[in-house]
């Protein structure tokens, strides 16, 4: 007789498998575009413009921006995967398959977040391979690099989940990435060190969570960061706990799911 724990494990792995199968089935929409977009970033910002910019924090410009570009791809894809998958499930009503099943809400959340992390990491690997065609990457701190990329993917998967819970149309799913995520990403120190900014904008940048992720990840690969790495981990953990609690609260309440 299977135990409740075994039931939960089967349910969670089923949900994760379905999520992975989904983004692999539609790979021209999920895996190919980041490879092309990031290649263009490396060609234009890294090679063409980067050669004129020279060094940044003691590294060739293309080498300096590579970690940020990889991180950008990871967080965008983690977010997009959960937002689109969960919203589609709501839109087509097949979320009901999950809601009627004996699966606790925290496992539903975990399954979707793990699916987002899986896509984020796979895209991260693809973009890293692309980056190696343009520059060298010698990882300085492997544990920090891996833990930061995973935590960032978790955080943005949670963001995508909350967006999908509130979303009532595909337009609303696109609003957050377009008007909030993209500006925060570009202002998150991917392409520059915040030391280059005036004092006011340096302080303002500290309110951008993406700055912490990009810098901690850059520290893991290059060994340089604008932010203390411990602080970066603390901020990200705080956001993860906050967003996970809120997402679970919304699920338990049935917001956007149950009448």
């Amino acid at each position: 007789m299977p135990t409740q724990r075994q039931h939960h494990w089967v349910a969670l792995s089923t949900l994760l498998t379905r999520e992975i199968r989904r983004f692999i089935r539609i790979w021209p929409q999920t895996l190919l575009p980041p490879a092309i977009t990031m290649t263009l970033y490396f060609v234009i910002f890294g090679n063409l413009i980067g050669q004129r910019i020279g060094e940044m924090s003691g590294f060739a410009y293309i080498e300096y921006i590579a970690p940020g570009i990889i991180m950008m791809a990871v967080i965008n894809n983690a977010y997009a995967n959960v937002a689109s998958s969960f919203f589609s499930a709501k839109f087509q009503n097949h979320i009901e398959e999950l809601l009627i099943a004996p699966i606790p809400n925290h496992l539903i959340l975990a399954g979707y977040v793990m699916g987002g992390v899986a896509r984020g990491l796979l895209v991260g690997i693809i973009v890293t391979i692309v980056a190696l065609f343009f520059t060298k990457l010698h990882v300085q701190h492997l544990f920090i690099t891996l833990s930061m990329v995973i935590l960032s993917a978790v955080l943005f998967s949670l963001g995508g989940f909350i967006n999908a819970i509130y979303g009532k149309s595909f337009d609303q799913i696109a609003i957050i990435p377009t008007f909030i995520l993209t500006p925060l990403t570009y202002l998150g120190g991917i392409f520059y060190s915040i030391d280059l900014l005036p004092e006011f904008w340096q302080q303002a940048s500290l309110f951008n969570p993406i700055l912490y992720m990009v810098n901690a990840f850059r520290y893991g690969i290059l060994g340089v960061s604008d932010i203390p790495v411990g602080l970066a981990f603390g901020v990200i953990m705080l956001f993860i706990v906050g967003l996970a609690s809120f997402a679970l609260y919304l699920l338990n309440r049935g917001t956007g799911l149950r009448h």
């Binding site: 299977p2 409740q4 075994q6 039931h7 939960h8 089967v10 349910a11 792995s13 089923t14 949900l15 498998t17 379905r18 199968r21 089935r25 589609s88 499930a89 087509q92 009503n93 097949h94 009901e96 398959e97 999950l98 809601l99 009627i100 099943a101 004996p102 699966i103 606790p104 049935g254 149950r258 009448h259």
Partner: protein, 306 residues
């Protein structure tokens, strides 16, 4: 044992509509139970609350003795739902949908796959097992929803208008299938607009209207309440003379077709004897309307009058 017990269940939607007004309902294990009512009566809300898709305002729901609020997972594990609207991922393949659903109920793939294969064969979907669900016909989608609801061997199967938009042949084969699984011990609750379906399949019935249970009894007792029935008779030859039948209301609705109203205390034998004496041969006879339909309308009309 009660398969389902609902007590004092109420639901008011955010827009103020009172969908359920403190209803009580019990369904015994092994029953084939009909939940009938006009559109907007509260049938789907009741099913939504039982299956956790709708949150209740108050009341208690237990499934095979497990409280839906406090023993949620156990209660849910006994339930299978065939919803009114198609609700599967249109891009997923038929067999994958079943195996995934089995996994949600804790059945690993090595258990879910043979179960899925069996159901696909039973419901005539085997040839379509690798087809994305969006490419199925309407009837096949209905059968897929039944297969999905049965994948985890639920003890209580709830079908919300399962034969809506299904052709007669398929509807009859689905009736046979549902009767078989009921015979094997699965309790079934059915909502339908086809009253003939409820009359043929179900042993007990509840009628819900405007959020209240207006009738809850066994089908036989309900049908016994009919005080009269109307029959249509087809005659061998057109009528040429005036027809007279004692104590029976009769109307000619065609040259060789009659409509006869017979009271409960009157015998059909009297009718045929009478017709025979007048040299009239009857070739066929049928009920004018479904018997349950007449009762259903009278019960629902009563609540409107209130």
């Amino acid at each position: 044992m009660k398969a389902l017990s609902i007590q004092q269940l109420s639901k008011v939607y955010d827009n103020g509509i009172k969908a359920l007004d403190s209803i009580d309902l019990d369904v015994e294990q092994g029953d084939f139970f009909a939940l009938l009512g006009p559109n907007g009566a509260g049938k789907s809300t009741t099913i939504g609350v039982i299956t956790s898709l709708i949150t209740k305002n108050s009341g208690q729901v237990t499934v095979f003795g497990h409280d839906l609020d406090t023993e949620t997972e156990l209660a849910k594990s006994h339930l299978g739902l065939v919803p009114q609207e198609f609700n599967f991922n249109g891009f997923e393949q038929v067999k994958a949908i079943l195996i995934t659903q089995a996994g949600y109920y804790g059945m690993p793939a090595h258990e879910g796959e043979p179960r899925a294969d069996k159901l696909l064969h039973q419901l005539g979907l085997w040839e379509k097992r690798d087809t994305p669900s969006r490419a199925l016909s309407g009837g096949m989608k209905r059968r897929l929803m039944i297969a999905r609801a049965l994948i985890h061997n639920p003890k209580l199967l709830i079908l919300d208008e399962p034969t809506a938009g299904v052709d007669i042949e398929l509807r009859r084969s689905m009736w046979g299938f549902l009767q078989d699984i009921n015979d094997q011990g699965t309790t079934i609750i059915l909502t339908t607009h086809y009253l003939e379906e409820a009359e043929n399949l179900c042993r007990n019935i509840a009628i819900i209207d405007q959020g209240n249970i207006v009738e809850n009894t066994d089908m036989k007792s309900l049908l016994n309440r009919l005080d009269k029935e109307v029959f249509i008779l087809d005659l061998a030859e057109p009528l040429t003379t005036e027809l007279k039948l004692d104590n029976m209301h009769i109307a000619k609705i065609g040259s060789s077709t009659l409509e006869v109203e017979i009271k409960k205390e009157q015998a059909l034998n009297d009718l045929f004897t009478n017709l025979s004496e007048q040299g009239i041969t009857v070739t066929s006879m049928k009920n004018k309307a479904n018997r349950l339909e007449a009762l259903f309308l009278s019960l629902v009309e009563k609540t409107v009058d209130k």
